[in-house]
Structures are given as C-alpha cells and as structure tokens.
Symmetry: C2
Subunit: 442 residues, 2 copies
C-alpha cells in the first residue's frame, strides 16, 4: 500500500469501542482517511509520502467541541461577574457591535486557538454563520454550524425570527460541503416562539440537518417551564422537538424524568462544565445522562462564557465536577472523560461515522501531543495523563482529513499574524462601547 502519511512510534489511544491502544503504534492515512493502524512496527510493504516520527508523542482523535460561539471571542473578558449578564450586557453589546466583519475576524482568530489546542471538529451557533463557515473552511476544520434564530431583531436580521430566512440562505449555500454542516440554531426555549420552533423542526427534518439549541440552561427558564409544562425539556417535547437531530447545550436544570425523556427521544447533549460553573449554575448531571445512554459531548461554550477555548481545560473539569456532584472519586474514569471529548462529541453531532475515534475508514482527524514535556510525565495511565495533565501547549500537530492544519504548534492554514491583527482591530473598535455599557449596568 502507498499512503500519503504514516505516523510511526506514537502512543495511540484509538477511542474505539474496544478501547484499543497501541504503545507504540503506527497510523497510515490514504485519501484523507485512516487506511490502517496498529502496534509497531508498521507493515513492511507500507510506503508513505510523508513519515512523521511520533516517538514521544501521544496520538489522540482530534477533539470535538460540541457547543461554541466562536465570534464572541471579540468580547472575551468583558462584563465578567455581573448578575443577569446575558440579558443586561451581552444582548445589548451584540446588538451594538456584531457585524459581518466582526464575525469574520473573530471567528478566524478563535479557530486558531481551538485548532492549536487540538480541536478538529466544532459546533457553533451565532449570527452571520456563513462567515463562521468560511473561516472553518479556510482553517480546514470540520464543523456543524447553526444560524441563530431569536424573537428579537438580531445583528443579521432586522425582524423577529429573521434568522430563519437567513438560515435557509446559509444552508442552501453550504449544504453538501464535505466538512461543513450548515443548520438551524433556535437560540433557546425562551427566546423563540413555539410555532417557529415547530417550523424549524420541520425544515430540519426535511433537509436532514441537525438543530442546535440552548436547553434547560438558566434558572429563569427552568422556573417558567416548570409552571407551564413541568420542565423546559418537557415543553420542547410537547412541541415535538425532541429527536435525534437535536443537540441541546447545557441541560443543567433537569430531573430524572427529563433525563429519561431525553434518552428515549435520542436527544444529544453538549455539556459545558466551565461556562456553567462560571455562571454559578448547578453542576449538570452529565454522568447520569451518560448512564441513561444519552449521546454526550463536551464543550467550551463561547469565549465570553468559558473564556478558554481549549478542550484540555474542559477535559479535566468534566470528571472533577461529576465526582463532586456524585460525591465519589470512582465516578467517571479518565477514559470515559476522554471519550466524551472525542467519540462522544462526534456521536452527539451525528458525525461518529466520520470522526471521533481512530479506526480504519474514518477521516484522519487526529492530534499529536508532545508527551516528553514535564507536565505529561511520568506516565502510568495514558488516559489520566491526557485528561488531567495535558495542557494546550503539548499539542504540536493537528490533522483534519489527514492534512496538517497545525504544525509545530502553529496554524498552517490561517495566517496567524493576520488573525491576531484582525482581532486587535475589532477589539479597538469595541472597547469604548463596552466600557459605556459596563457603566450603564453598574
């Protein structure tokens, strides 16, 4: 066989159904897919266009970040620690400042941070989502991108629910792209009218696309739907929205009945431990959702909510918080945590056929992390090392479809200096307005 790429000598955690690991192992890429992998040595007849010396490296499936708002990188660190921050600060700030330009520049910038720390696939919901698609395509990343639909005028749609028409145009433009899945993203149960939610669901079904939504995220939302329908989850069920297309982010305020319902309906969950905690929310019962059989991925949430966009931070936090919630250190092993950041995320986004684990036939989406650095040593348990000790800088090479989008820790697809300069320009334009808004909500 003649491969395009051959990685030799790395420790490979495949994250497949049998938890296979090769230490050391080899992995070959052909036509952007994984052609084969196994324990060293690589088969004799295997030739490769490029051979990567993986000795001392940990090879993992690329991370899947199941819920982000990448363009909000433009506002990272603004308005921290304010009560009711979303409604009092973020919505007005977005109204005042979000433009097509901002989304383009901030997305490109944010994708660099994400890719450099090992993320190969992400799900995003925002405005001007076609610009996010362009940035993701340029970066060479895989993405599920939902245009946001809300019941008030938004930066890219002057009428209430105008995002629906915007989404239709965006989807028509991008559907069928090999790496980008365009879709609908109704903002939340409390910001989209029920008839519009039903219409979105119908369109998504007709087009065969996912639906991204914030669900059971805020206390106010929980209180409102508790009165009317028992819970926000049950409200969505009453509209027929709960199905395997739905990727619900947060899912904090849920009881056992909600969890059983989500499992029965096949809804996927994007678990956002950092942003939920930073908002002072209860710990979402992610372990119990997994035990109930729910497809569950991990997510940073947007840079305004979780700040750091690296999945390393989320990986360590996820099991820690579940252990706290359950009161037992035995809960949620390192390998289960790593699974959520890789295959679990791919399953949640409906991309498990393509990515999330290292198996022959899947797309060659993987990272190589330098395991010889101080913080990664010594190693007695590779899963624990990946989950609790690895940090963003350990990631040195990142591949999507077998193409190196990060080499030696730097983007190959995006001009880094240009991306940084683009963000600096955006931030300069935002600074005064943000300061003014902050004064208003003092």
């Amino acid at each position: 066989m003649k491969a395009e790429l051959l990685v030799e000598g790395a420790t490979i955690l495949t994250m497949d159904g049998q938890w296979r690991a090769f230490d050391p192992g080899w992995l070959a890429v052909k036509d952007g897919a994984i052609a084969g992998l196994g324990p060293m040595p690589a088969p004799g007849g295997l030739e490769a266009g490029e051979v990567v010396d993986g000795r001392g490296m940990l090879c993992l499936p690329g991370f899947v970040n199941t819920h982000t708002h990448v363009a909000m990188a433009a506002f990272r660190g603004a308005g921290e620690d304010r009560a009711d921050r979303l409604v009092r600060f973020l919505f007005p700030m977005e109204k005042a400042l979000v433009t097509r330009d901002l989304v383009r520049e901030a997305s490109r910038f944010c994708l660099a941070e994400m890719a450099r720390s090992g993320t190969t696939t992400f799900a995003d919901m925002y405005y001007f989502e076609d610009e996010v698609a362009r940035a993701a395509d340029e970066a060479g990343m895989r993405a599920v991108l939902g245009e946001t639909i809300v019941d008030f005028p938004s930066p890219d749609a002057p009428e209430a629910h105008g995002g629906l028409a915007y989404a239709e145009g965006f989807i028509a433009q991008w559907q069928g792209h090999e790496r980008i899945t365009p879709c609908f993203a109704p903002h939340a149960t409390y910001t989209v009218d029920p008839d519009v939610l039903v219409a979105i669901h119908g369109r998504a079904e007709a087009l065969g696309l996912p639906v991204l939504i914030h669900l059971a995220e805020t206390e106010k939302e929980a209180a409102r739907f508790k009165v009317s329908h028992g819970s926000a989850v049950r409200y969505l069920d009453s509209l027929g929205l709960l199905d395997p297309r739905l990727v619900a982010a947060h899912v904090v305020y849920v009881d056992a009945e909600d969890i059983a319902l989500l499992a029965r309906r096949g809804v996927a969950v994007a678990h956002c431990p950092a942003s939920n905690a930073k908002s002072g929310r209860p710990i979402a019962p992610a372990y119990r959702m997994r035990e109930a059989g729910i497809r569950l991925g991990l997510a940073t949430d947007g840079p305004v909510s979780g700040n750091g966009m690296d999945m390393e931070g989320i990986l360590g936090l996820y099991p820690k918080l579940q252990k706290v919630l359950e009161g037992r250190r035995e809960v949620l092993s390192s390998r289960e945590a790593l699974r959520a950041a890789t295959l679990g995320g791919a399953e949640a986004l409906g991309l498990a056929e393509k990515t999330g684990s290292l198996e022959p036939g899947k797309r060659a989406d993987f990272l190589l992390a330098d395991a010889t650095d101080f913080n990664m040593q010594p190693v007695y348990d590779w899963y624990a090392t990946a989950v609790y000790a690895m940090r963003p800088h350990n990631v040195r090479q990142v591949y999507v479809d077998g193409r190196a989008i990060v080499r030696d820790g730097r983007m190959t697809t995006i001009d880094e200096a240009q991306a940084l300069a683009g963000m600096a320009g955006i931030a300069d334009r935002c600074r005064d307005q943000i300061a003014r808004l902050m004064r208003e909500i003092q």
Copy 2:
C-alpha cells in the same frame, strides 16, 4: 539610581492593597528587591544592568502554591479513581517505593513544571524534606517545607512519629536560609497522636516556625471528630493547635462555627480545589472563609492528587467552584481569585512581607506572561484574562529575588534534560511495583 534589572512596557498588576495596575508600567530591581515601579515612562535617571522589553507582556507577582507534595510527581497518574485511594494504594506505595533518591529526582523534576508555569513560592510536606529543600534551593525558588510526621513507620523514619526527630535535624540544618523555611508537618488529625501534635506545636512556637497539616479533608476524619469533639477543627482547638502558625490544607468539612473559630484563631488555609474535586469531596467553602477574614491561599496539592502542577489550572477553578457552591456568578471576582494565588498565598504562609505582591521593598518575585498569544486576547479586563484565559505556556520569564529562574519558558537553574532523565529512571524503577499494587486493590 542604578538598578540590576528594569522591566519596561509590561502591563503590571501589582496586587497591592490598592489594586494598583500600570498599563504599561516599569519595574526596577535592586539587590534582589523591588526598588520601584510605576506607569511608563520609567524615571529619567534610572540606569539598569539589564533592561527587559516587557511590551506585550503581563507582569504578575509570582504564584504562591500553598500546599504540595512535589516528590509525589514520581507517582502521577497511578491508581486513579480508586475508592479509599490514600489508605489502600498511596500509603503502601509510598512505603514500598519512597527513597531519598526518589525524593531528590522527583522534586527537581516537579519544581521545573511549577517554576515554568510561574510559581515562585511553594509549601510542601513530605518525607526526606531536606532533599526537597536542596532541590528548591538549586531551582532558586522560595519555599516553606515541612517534614511529615505520622504515627506509622515512614520512608525516612522507622518508628511511629519518627518524623519529629527527622524534622528537628532538618530544621537545624536549614533554619535561617534566605529563601527556605524548614518546619514541621504533622500529617493529619487522624494520623498523629494528640500528645505528639501538642509537642509539635510547642516546638514550632519555640523555634518561630509554621506548622503544615491536612485538616478536615476526608469524610472519615469528619465523622470521627464530629462524634468526639464536634469537628476536626474543634478537636485541634482542644489541643491548642489553632494559631497563626498553622497552615491547614483542604479544610473541606467545616461548618459556620468552624470557620468562625479558624478566623478567630488566625489559622491560614491552603485551598486545594482541583484535588478535592478529583477526590469527589464537597466544595470547600473558600469564599465564606475569605469573607470571615481567614488568610487563604490556593494550592495544587501533590501531583498524584491534582495531577497538573500549574497554578493557572487552579486559578480558573477556584472562582468557578465557589460560584457553583454559592449559586451566584457575582461571587468571587477575578481579582479576588488572582489575589488568592499571589498575595493571599503569601499571607497564608507568613511571607507577605517578602513576596506575593509587587511593592517597593518586597523581594522581586514575579512572572512575565506573553499576552500577545491567541488565548490571552483580546483584553478588556486583565484580571479576567489572568484568571480564566492564561495557560502555563504563556509564562515566559520567572524571577525570584530578581534572578531569572525561567527564561523563554526554560529553567535556567535546573538542567532540564537531566531532570527529565532523572524522573524517567525513577518511573522505570516504580512501574512494576505500582502495577502489582494496582492488581492487589482491584
């Protein structure tokens, strides 16, 4: 004035009592102390032996890590997620494997990880603590080092409580060192006899030294002393142990009465959010302890407990968990969190006269972090950037007493290749024994 070192153009968060920040600012070092600092430009008459271009850098006081067991780096990642891990796995493993050699090699290794991520001062408790002292001295770090005393034979003392005699020797050898404070570290309320606790307290008082202890850390401990004395804290108070010399690590199982008592007695707390969470413990009421006026610092705990030894990970986790515990996002601002990792830690260790903030006359212990990297941008709130967005690799230069112990992200004081090779040798010697012990506790 003629300074040894002048940093120009960095954003300086002084963490002093007035929250002064200079953006951009200058900082001059003379005789290892901060000779002056302020907003740019630096005074005209100021000459310097070395001028550091701080443009694009964030300058912070070096981090203070108030509770570690650095030599346990030798076991990082071993025996994860096992119930009753300390007693069933860690104690037997230490008995079998901890030698003077191991402590020397593992300490040197671990200090490199800590220093490179910005820690300048740490508190440690372990066996062969004189080897930790040697490693800290060699690394050029500041440290409070407690020899562990337990009621069973330990790696460096064959008799129960033999650590007390060992500690006396260690203290005699190191007391008076300008950067190293040797002291006593009774392991915990439940592993040291009451008469020995009282004897240690007396000796610490006579010698003018701190006492380091694990307190109110485990459920078993909490249950035991609840019956006998109301709580572990009240048990220690009944022995007269609670005073401003005591640095109590963890302090998880405490009620309002305990918090008031700790505050009244002036006890300091080393808060370990990562290791407590990873152990499935409740979230320690750190915010309430601070509100009660308790001196509180942050800590990684040992590498077996918290795994990552960078304070960046702890910095982000601390406010997140307190917001979860209190159920409010407004609780614990970024600047309060950063204070705990710097001046708060110095206060807890009784070193606030010397370190923890950037003020004239204090020792020149500080870090420079590259704020131009993707994950640090944009900046609207430097405290939020430092707490939630900064990652270990952003730290480029680290100074203790004005001496660069880290330059361009590399140790200047420790041979990194040698430190890595030393750890590799130790890990190779431990591997079989660890595997055997793991099988025994299956």
